[in-house]
């Protein structure tokens, strides 16, 4: 299990095994600018500040160019963090909490809190 933190938003969510960033954030009650959610449009790009990701599903080089990928740009709908990771949304985007009760439940309900989680409470 890994933890994903959105820098600047002070939000950390727990990701399921092999779960992409986008899925984990939306499941936890958050939203940000996304498009197809299937790796085709590039609208969901974020920057990886810390950590490492894997792409279990093939993504097109036209959508995420190899040099972008090397520079830490992630296609958040397809990128699966393999270690605890920190991302930053694009400058003109921001993380919104669309379901506060869900976000609270996710925060309060997880067992085996990691240090990231404890640090927040």
């Amino acid at each position: 299990m890994t933890w994903l933190t959105v820098a600047g938003a002070d939000v950390t969510v727990e990701l399921h095994d092999r779960e992409p960033m986008l899925s984990g954030l939306f499941r936890s009650g958050y939203a940000y600018r996304v498009g197809c959610k299937r790796g085709g449009c590039g609208i969901c790009k974020v920057d990886l500040v810390e950590g490492a990701v894997d792409y279990p599903v093939t993504v097109s080089d036209e959508v995420l160019a190899p040099d972008e990928r090397a520079a830490g740009v992630c296609l958040s709908c397809r990128a699966v963090p393999v270690t605890d990771s920190v991302i930053r949304l694009r400058e003109d985007d921001r993380l919104r909490c669309v379901a506060p009760f869900l976000a609270a439940a996710v925060r309060g309900g997880s067992s085996g809190n990691s240090s990231v989680q404890k640090g927040k409470d």
Binding site: R33, G35, C36, K37, R38, G39, G40, C41, I43, V57, T58, V59, S60, D61, E62, V63
Partner: protein
């Protein structure tokens, strides 16, 4: 007669097997042929060999095929297209599986269009002798046929002029920046059959696909498709709702590579003397999504 209909849509997909699940198990198309890295698919009420080609590697549109009545029509179109100033080349039988001779055109919008008049006719799944109204064992949505495409281009006015002057398409609906003579064209919905549109284009980058659509019979079938999308975890963009433009009912959704598909029903009938409908920008949101009257940003930004 000239151009009879949208015959095939050839798109790129990142993963052929994931795409097979979507187009076959969820939408209900049938695989009619396979080549390495390619699937040829057909819907049950189509009688030509295939209507969708999926090619592994990347995303977005490879080309569109429109079926013409005769080789003479194609020869006449070729002349008109060349004097319009677009690039054409001859394509010969066998370059596309099952498709005969024709021409390949690079549109002013950089999309590739193929015009052909021959393709193997394999028949619908209900046949043409005392047919039942639908095949008994449809899978998933059970789409009967493809219906239209929407692509983006930098210069909709030129593309509209191309389809009108070279291929005899007519605009059913147009979105303009204003009602005065020198207003710009933002989008055009054009027909060669009796439907509201066989192709449409809106302002945006050249060469990109906005969506291609499948026909469904009515609003209930649209809702049923939506239920199946939920069951199969299909990424849904918008809907079910109605378009103001074309009056059609719709769900926009994405295939596993992020190419946008649509299920579309309703709309009106068109004839060559159909009076073109005009939309102004202040009503565009209503034109696109009639019920919510709000454009989401994905409508203009998510393209493949």
């Amino acid at each position: 007669m000239g151009v009879m209909r949208l015959g095939y849509v050839h798109t790129r997909v990142t993963d052929l097997e994931e795409s097979r699940k979507h187009y076959v198990d969820t939408l209900g198309m049938r695989v009619v042929a396979e080549e390495p890295g390619k699937l040829f698919l057909k819907a049950w009420d189509e009688y030509d060999h295939h209507s969708v080609v999926l090619e592994e590697g990347g995303v977005g549109l490879v080309k569109l095929g429109y079926k013409c009545r005769t080789p003479d029509d194609i020869a006449a179109f070729e002349n008109r297209i060349q004097s319009f100033g677009a690039v054409t080349e001859r394509m010969s039988k066998g370059e596309n599986l099952s498709v005969g001779d024709g021409i390949r055109v690079v549109l002013p919008s950089e999309h590739v269009l193929e015009l052909y008049s021959e393709i193997d006719v394999v028949g619908t799944e209900t046949g043409s002798l005392n047919p039942d109204p639908f095949p008994r064992h449809l899978v998933g949505v059970g789409v009967p046929r493809i219906d239209h495409t929407l692509v983006t281009c930098e210069d909709p006015a030129t593309l509209e002029r191309f389809f009108a002057e070279c291929l005899d398409f007519k605009p059913s609906e147009r979105v303009v920046t204003g009602l005065d003579r020198d207003a710009d064209l933002i989008g055009s919905w054009m027909f060669c059959t009796n439907t509201p549109h066989d192709i449409a284009f809106i302002k945006g980058p050249n060469g990109k696909l906005h969506h291609f659509a499948y026909w469904l019979n009515d609003w209930n079938e649209i809702r049923h498709a939506g239920d199946l999308f939920a069951m199969d975890d299909v990424s849904v963009d918008v809907g079910p709702t109605r378009h103001g433009i074309t009056r059609g009912e719709t769900i926009y959704f994405f295939d596993p590579s992020g190419n946008r598909n649509e299920v579309f029903s309703g709309g009106y009938i068109t004839y060559p003397d159909f009076p073109t409908i005009t939309w102004t920008p202040d009503q565009l949101a209503k034109g696109i999504f009639y019920i919510s009257r709000e454009l989401n940003e994905r409508f203009t930004t998510v393209l493949t």
